[in-house]
């Protein structure tokens, strides 16, 4: 009796899997078939040929840059949060004091050579003063160009 009571559910499960198994395979095939016939799905870029028209994806993290308005003003307060957030010390925030004695940004030094483009500094900044831009052709033959000063103006914010 014990056997027969467990036998019927087993058969039921077995038959059910005979239906659901092929069905799931067909679902997989339909997905790949859609990909196969739809050229809009293709994500490959023909890079050197389409260099003029190539647009990077919005989520791409290129070089770090400072968000500046038309006059070159930025929002940085030299709080140093980004410097502390950076895992490999690629940022040095060198602050100065303005005439009123308030701490303001002097020079924002960015070492592109050691930056891993992780984006932690952007997340850490409480004032939204920095962002990762879309540059991807960043190779250079002169290592000195990799040391950058990001802010154009001193003592903003």
């Amino acid at each position: 009796m014990q056997e027969s009571s467990s036998f019927i559910p087993y058969i039921k499960r077995y038959l059910k899997r005979c239906i659901t198994g092929p069905w799931s395979l067909l679902c997989g095939l339909s997905v790949t078939f859609k990909y196969f016939i739809d050229p809009r799905r293709i994500v490959t870029e023909q890079y050197p040929e389409n260099r003029k028209t190539l647009k990077m994806h919005p989520r791409y993290r290129g070089r770090l840059e400072m968000i500046e308005d038309a006059d070159g003003n930025n929002h940085c307060t030299a709080c140093g949060m980004c410097e502390r957030a950076c895992p490999n010390a690629s940022i040095n925030v060198l602050s100065t004091k303005n005439i009123a004695g308030k701490k303001v940004l002097g020079r924002y030094v960015y070492h592109f050579a050691s930056c891993t483009q992780c984006g932690l500094c952007v997340e850490a900044c409480p004032f939204g003063a920095i962002r990762m831009n879309q540059d991807f052709e960043v190779a250079t033959t002169d290592p000195n160009t990799l040391e950058m000063i990001l802010n154009k103006k001193e003592g903003q914010g």
Binding site: L25, G28, L29, V31, T32, F33, Y35, F36, P39, R41, I42, V43, T44, Q46
Partner: protein
Amino acid sequence: MFVPSVTNPIGDFVRNLVPQVTAYLPVAFQSETLDSVVAFLINAVICIIAVCAVNIGSAPILIYMERKVCAHVQCRLGPMRLGWHGTIQTIADVLKMLFKEVYAPSGADKLMFYTAPMIVLIAPFMVCALIPFSKDLVVADVSMGIPLIIAVNGFGVLGILLGGWSSNNKYSLLGALRSGAQIISYEISFAMILLFVVMISGSTNLMDITMSQQGTVFDWWIFKIPVLGFIAFILFFISSTAEMNRAPFDIAEAEQELTGGYHTEYNGTPFAMFYLAEYIALVTNSALATTCFLGGFHAPCIGIAAVDNVLNMVPGLVWFFGKVFFMIWCYMMVRWTFVRPRVDQLMDFEWKFLLPVNLVLLTAGAAWIAISG
């Protein structure tokens, strides 16, 4: 003597030409027997060249096709740089492969190591000779076609086992043993499905099997027998995929587990031969599926006279290769969609599911024949 059962224009031309040429020779060389022997040999050479051309010529096309299909399934473009849409890429790859230095690992059994790829190539070439490509295009029209195919297919596993064994590498050996176990298991299903076809068509000759499907689309074996034909076709598809060691049944290669399986130690030309065998097997298996289930070289007539006349104007060879490439495309879509099962799941599937279903199918087919008369 030496008169083939299927005559074709090229063969007839050679048979007519040889007596005309020998007429210029001294009388001592003129005899009926000699003429027929010479004509036979010339025809044999033509056949060998034709089979080689079909097989070796289709390999680059298939490799290109596979790369493109796989790329588009994965939202990529595939080869694009060399030639129009990368068409010359495959040829460049083949040339690179051929110019590589050939060497064997130090502990390998050299003789076995170098004969294995050749043995692997035997099976697809011999099967190709049996396939009727058109009404008068078949190299060997033997009456025991299907049993011969089943027998010859065994060479594939022999080559794989030898290659894995002689490489002196544990990955190769494991891959070869897995492949041996797999092919021997699936060979049973494969043979049973072919037996089913033999049973319903009443002949083991591939030409007769094709001719038994003459008529409209609904006379093809896949549709002619209500549900059974379709089930048999699916089962044939599964077991032939396993026979060819293609994904999802490619546990013999299983890159992630075995770094390449039985051909880990091969490089250059021997590796290219394994590769070639894989793709020719794809062609021959598709051709077999076409012959057994999809009406061979018959046009897909639909029963309306006007349409059928147009369709019948296209030569059978074109229909045959159209169907073969459709089948190949199906194999490729399956390969790039499904995931590889584990070894034990694979064996379970064959012995606990495929084989019983096959037996039921054979019985049902016999019942169908008995009922429909």
